[in-house]
Amino acid sequence: MRKRKRKRKMEGALWLLVVVVLAVVLAPAESAGDVKIWPMPASVSSGNKRLHLSKDFELLTQGTGYNDASGILKDGFNRMLAVVNNGHVVDGNFSDKSSLLSGLHALQYGIDESYKLMVPSPENQAYAHLEANTVFGALHGLQTFSQLCHFNYKSRVIEVHMSPWTITDQPRFSYRGLLIDTSRHYLPLPVIKNVIDSMTYAKLNTSFVPDMVVINCCSYAQKRGINVMAELDVPGHALSWRVGYPALWPSNYCQQPLDVSNEFTFQVIDGILSDFSKIFKFKFVHLGGDKVNTSCWTDTPCISKWLKKHHMNESQAYQYFVLRAQNIALSHGYEIVNWEETFNNFGNKLGRKTVVHNWLRGGVAQQVVASGLRCIVSNQDKWYLDHLDTAWQEFYMNEPFANITNSKQQKLVIGGEVCMWDEHIDGSDIEQTIWPRAAAAAERLWTPYDKLANDASEVTGRLAYFRCLLNQRGVAAAPLSGPGRVAPF
């Protein structure tokens, strides 16, 4: 079995030296209530000084074993700089050079996506300080740093307000996903790339792309710390990809689910998963398995005969199909995600490494984890972005641990995912349907439970600020008021 390495470890200490300059200016008192970072970090403290960034803001890495061979850190730093400068013409001349902040120093710390950011560094006031164990943790730290930076329209400099900052941060859930559906409407690559960029602003880390094989998008996402999970939804929902291979249909006029009686069906699945494994390096693959209407199997004589011969009824054949597809995926080194119908119908037969993807309703996660399987939460009443009448407040308040109190069972909830099904979405309106509501869910998935607001209205101002930040970065995030993606009044 291929070992999939999800995170790239940074070996030894990583030094990010950023020539950041400078002048400390006394600013009007800004209280902790003014922390505008989204999602809210695990731990934040700030002060009331104001720092300015140098025009020659640059990244130096010294004293770290991480060599950044594929440029992930360097590219991430440059992107951070681009969104901070945001097209403005930035000046960098200051008369007061008495206290220069001229770099950023990073060390190894914590696990996975965690990071620690101090601005300025307590050891050397001329530097900011970023510690991360993986380059992907460092990317999150850079994202947070970018949200500390503000362009001052009068002095034309980039400022960090409320210094000194000490931020210790790590995600609450390891799986923080956004599903992008590309089969109901084709989404061009630049559109997907824009969505991937915007996901990094909210620290989402998994994009789930059903029915699509695009390698450019994968490496693009991976360099941004975003895993791409592919879906091969079998045996139902596979009508279109069989246009090329009509033999996969039960018959010409009864076209799905896939022909369970035909060995060729499983050969094709094997072939596709083999291709997937070369493109999608994420350890999970999604095998769908939802909403299977098996009437085509009984209506088609040769399949009906095959079922009798193997002493199967329709639901047994559905189970047979799903489990056989699971085994094929396992043989390619994948762990499997299946929609909850598979769990609802034959949960005790599913492979023990299966992750059950909830969608039909709330309350499923507790049953899944009670049975010892892992779960991703996507209950459609709260986390389906194409449900335009679901307000951002409901996205924010949807708690993956609802009714799960046992800490062992809580560990089995690996996270959640907001879903962008695109019957009514195309390249023209996907961003405003996703944002800002996906950001509300992103905070639920990132921020420690006890730091989340009990009442969503407490975070309205900060989310409105984040939505404007998305706009400033060129993302077409919709206004907060009104239903999803509505234009301003």
Partner: protein
Amino acid sequence: MSPNFPKPHLKIPKILLLFFCISQIVAPGFAFELDESLTFIWPLPAEFSSGNETLSVDPSITLTVSGNGGNSVVVSEAFDRYKRVIFKRASGFSIFGKFRGRGSVYDISELTVIVHSESEELQLGVDESYSLTVAKRDAQSIVWEATIEANTVYGALRGLETFSQLCVFDYGTKSVQIYKAPWYIQDKPRFAYRGLLLDTSRHYLPTEVIKQIIESMSYAKLNVLHWHIIDEQSFPLEVPTYPNLWKGAYSKWERYTVEDAQEVVSFAKMRGINVMAEVDVPGHAESWGAGYPDLWPSSSCREPLDVSKNFTFDVISGILADIRKIFPFELFHLGGDEVNTDCWSSTPHVKKWLGDHSMTTKDAYQYFVLRAQEIAISQNWTPVNWEETFNNFAANLNPRTVVHNWLGPGVCPKVVANGFRCIFSNQGVWYLDHLDVHWDQVYTAEPLEGINDVSKQELVLGGQVCMWGETADTSAVQETIWPRAAAAAERLWSRREAISTGNITLTALPRLHYFRCLLNRRGVQAAPVTNKYARRPPRGPGSCYGQ
């Protein structure tokens, strides 16, 4: 999982089922076929001919330049830009082993761009013509060549856009191809002024977004961004001479520095697009008073600007002098629309001033507009004014005035009959915030309607679609602009007779669908073409080419 996916395996009587299957197989949902007899270039070139050969284009295509203007950075940067647009997806497929073998030869590995003039001056009426040839060197040759020839760098930009539209990614070979070669294209715009208005006062648009829109304008060969920077709601622009003016911005983050505005202008120039600034006086200026309350007639009656004070004209003078350094375009828009003079007659000191000068409020409106025109002219600008100024006191307008139509049809004929120049923006068809205007109404709107005299026709500079921002912010602006602005863009670029005959549902609509999908491919949020209301999401699943 999604609950809405249609299920084709319903129980249906056999005979119906047969029809159902056939319709499933030929339905556009699976394989949308383009009408190959059409030419999928938008806007349609003036003259063109094509053949029936398919060529491959080298992802490492190089640029060769000649002529006095060939070495311009405008050309080389545009070439790099278009190379990225054309080859956006044609990389990274190597793991499938389907890369063209080593030593394989592409038909087109070089693009020659010839520019005759070295001038990079971008003004109204700049020569945007070009020729584009993709053909064999001569009848005996097997070597293909692609050549753009233009008098100016801006003509070369238009040629590059057309070239990029000939280049199509082929999913079978995973390479970029040019179909229907050889191509011979001779092209030039019908109108010198092909504009889009952006309103950054009703909603602030980040400079990043303005740049995205400028980039998309270049895809449709539009060439003027009318920047309605300031209005009564907010004053986002920095004016160094009067530094309190941008206190009228919505917030301290929704502002443009002088350098930001300069950056927008130079970004636009690199794409052959002029930026026409608008400072709308005396109405639509309430936000000025946030920094200088003296500009209001009184704190309770704030519009129009106080006509009685010299300070008002000092501020206008100061603004114009400051922004003259930002906007080199010869046209400058002074607004002058929708002036409700009630505040002048109801505010005692203004009323007294009117009496002292024996002016009615209508006289004062004219006085204000004409005095502002003089300031603009003294800054070496040609004034543009909304049509109310013409409707009210045409005889006294400066003869250089360009009259900007908006209220309704039939205005430009009157304007040109009086010897003024005109820009067509009839709100019934070319206001993009009117969401109920369908693409075909935009497409068939004709700026020369009712003007038959050729010498008068020449006074119509062109036309402009207007994206007023009351109900369009960053989240909605691009899908409100596109694809309808493209319909107007073809009206303004292509030959009238080529786009005004026949059934446009067959000749133009499939091409507009195609262009809309091309915008999507390039990352532009262009909405479906045929929805009843503009900028609505698609009605259901389907191909981009059919919605």
